[in-house]
């Protein structure tokens, strides 16, 4: 315990140094300037404070989080269910695996505008954009988690005369839990990408509106501040989930 603390402290110092270095380089690049449209770190930071204080950033997040949360919830319930189904049943796998492989490989930025032709420009289209990006990762991870269950564990269950139900509930699902959760985390990362692309490509609302508006009136510090804020929030959310994942599924379980 005693030994661990200095290491932690030291790594925190290194982290702070790397942040300082990054922001310092950014400040230099902005002052040099790389481009007249590239604001320095200090200007961006002040802009971030400004748009937070005047309420436009929090308001934008309220709008952006709607399709993101709905989409991720849909993926969390239907996506995981579907992935488990695919893992357990050859018929479901046969029918739907190609679809998810195609979705995973498809260039989403090109497909999202197509959604508008069918679902218009409202919330539905944006939720779908999130689902299209997040679902393949969530489904495929759940499916692989189920499929990769250690066969000797299943053999063991069977030799103890376990029913199929017991096999699924007591062996397969707990074993796949870690991968399923990792899928959800990756799905959230994709969901952030999806919601921002949707807000930039379908109709500018929320964060997408702030980015397009500030860029159109040449408020570049505000535009960068918005972009940085979504990156930070996405990174924190994903990091938080990763922490949670490590807590629920410590390495000794995951490694089995």
């Amino acid at each position: 315990m005693n030994r661990k603390e200095p290491i932690l402290k030291r790594s925190l110092v290194w982290q702070l140094i790397s942040f300082a270095l990054f922001f310092g380089l950014w400040e230099l690049a902005g002052r040099w300037p790389v481009s007249l449209a590239f604001p320095s770190f200090s200007k961006t930071f002040l802009a971030l404070v400004r748009i937070t204080a005047d309420g436009s950033l929090p308001k934008a997040y309220l709008v952006t989080l709607q399709p993101l949360l709905i989409g991720i919830a849909l993926c969390g319930i239907a996506g995981i269910g579907f992935g488990i189904g695919m893992g357990l049943s050859r018929a479901i796998e046969w029918a739907s695996l190609p679809l998810f492989i195609i979705l995973q490989a498809a260039p989403m930025a090109a497909i999202i505008p197509l959604i508008t032709y069918i679902y218009g420009i409202g919330l539905t289209a944006k939720v779908l954009a999130v689902v299209f990006l997040a679902a393949p990762v969530v489904v495929m991870n759940s499916y692989k988690g189920i499929r990769n269950t250690n066969p000797s564990l299943i053999q063991m269950c069977r030799s103890f005369l376990g029913t199929r139900r017991q096999e699924v509930i007591k062996i397969i699902l707990p074993h796949a839990g870690a991968l399923i959760f990792a899928g959800l985390r990756l799905g959230l990362a994709m969901g952030f990408i999806g919601v921002v692309i949707a807000e930039l490509l379908i109709t500018p609302t929320g964060i997408g509106d702030l980015i397009t508006y500030h860029s159109s009136v040449a408020d570049y510090p505000e535009m960068f501040a918005t972009i940085v804020s979504i990156i930070v929030i996405a990174a924190l959310a994903i990091h938080g989930l990763e922490r949670l994942e490590q807590k629920i599924f410590p390495p000794e379980i995951r490694g089995s």
Binding site: L36, A37, T212, V217, A218, D219
Partner: protein, 323 residues
């Protein structure tokens, strides 16, 4: 031996002649923030004619006006097309407008089932291009004029997208450019109504470049502006001229037949509404723009000066050569 010497001599002469020819030609990198379509025909015609006079105008189509503006700000393009007044004011870049290509022409259009006049739009939802765009400014000016207030303004970029949304019934009141307005009225003539608009005078597309470029390439810019002005005048005299020139120069060869039929009505309507200035806009266009974009919120501050946004010398030089 003699033959070899002659060949070498000929080669040298040929090479230096090519080099001289290349040096005489001026290259202008032109950033267009739009897909090249029928509304760019005057530009394409002028570029072809400038080419014959030793000015190569290389047109690159970017995804949006913003990207095209960035290309000019960062020096990857010489001339940009659009109305980035806000960028000019805020970035403090030494960039100036110098020619008005076309004036704004937009049509507020509503679904007849729901609205019949401006008054009906009071407390209703409308859709415009983007926040701070010309379309929003026009709708806001109209609201002021008719003393109404919209409940909500939603942003749907692209006239074509709004036209489709209107046809599908997703939106009930919006503002469209001429070609999309014509498309909507052709598809379902009885369903929609165009609301009357007071006189809005502002640039839809203007040309801008850095002062450095304008000073350095004076001759090339002058020739290009002369040709643009001549093209506009020819179109204003006879909209049919666009069709003839397109055929003669072989422009936009792969245009779908449906769009081909839209060329003449588009130019007739534009000419009727005075979209193409005969004199490149100049001082009066600059003043109108400053007023309009200040009202739209794109420009901030009072007492905006023309010389902070426009550089009129290239246009004057060009007009002096065009009778």
């Amino acid at each position: 031996m003699k033959l070899r010497q002659t060949i070498v001599l000929l080669l040298v002469i040929l090479l230096s002649a090519t080099a001289a020819w290349a040096q005489q030609r001026t290259k202008i990198r032109y950033a267009l923030g739009d897909v090249v379509s029928i509304d760019e025909l005057p530009l394409l015609i002028a570029a072809e004619r400038a080419k014959a006079r030793g000015v190569d105008v290389e047109i690159t189509a970017f995804k949006s006006e913003d990207v095209a503006t960035q290309a000019v700000i960062n020096g990857q393009a010489d001339i940009g097309q659009g109305t980035p007044y806000a960028a000019l004011q805020k970035v403090g870049a030494p960039i100036r407008f110098f020619y008005q290509l076309s004036a704004l022409l937009f049509f507020p259009i509503v679904n007849k089932e729901f609205y019949k006049s401006w008054k009906d739009l009071d407390g209703q939802e409308i859709a415009v291009h983007t926040r701070g765009s010309g379309t929003e400014a026009i709708m806001n000016l109209a609201a002021k004029e008719h003393k109404i207030k919209y409940k909500n303004v939603s942003y749907v970029p692209g006239s074509q997208v709004r036209a489709l949304a209107l046809l599908k019934g997703n939106i009930k009141a919006t503002i469209l450019d001429a070609s999309n307005k014509n498309m909507v009225m052709k598809e379902q003539p009885d369903k929609f109504l165009i609301l009357p608009l007071g006189n809005v005078k502002a640039s839809d597309e203007a040309l801008f470049a850095t002062r450095e470029f304008l000073d350095k390439k004076q001759a090339g810019v002058r020739i290009f502006l002369e040709e643009l002005t001549k093209v506009n005048r020819a179109i204003n005299a006879n909209p049919n001229w666009v069709l003839e020139e397109r055929k003669k120069l072989g422009l936009l060869k792969d245009l779908p037949a449906k769009l081909e039929g839209e060329i003449l009505p588009f130019y007739r309507e534009a000419v009727q509404n005075g979209v193409f200035p005969n004199d490149g806009g100049g001082d009066s266009a600059a003043k109108n723009d400053l007023e309009f974009f200040r009202l739209s919120g794109a420009l901030k501050g009072e007492n905006l000066k023309v010389e902070d946004f426009w550089h009129l010398a290239p246009l004057k030089a060009a007009l002096a050569n065009v009778k």
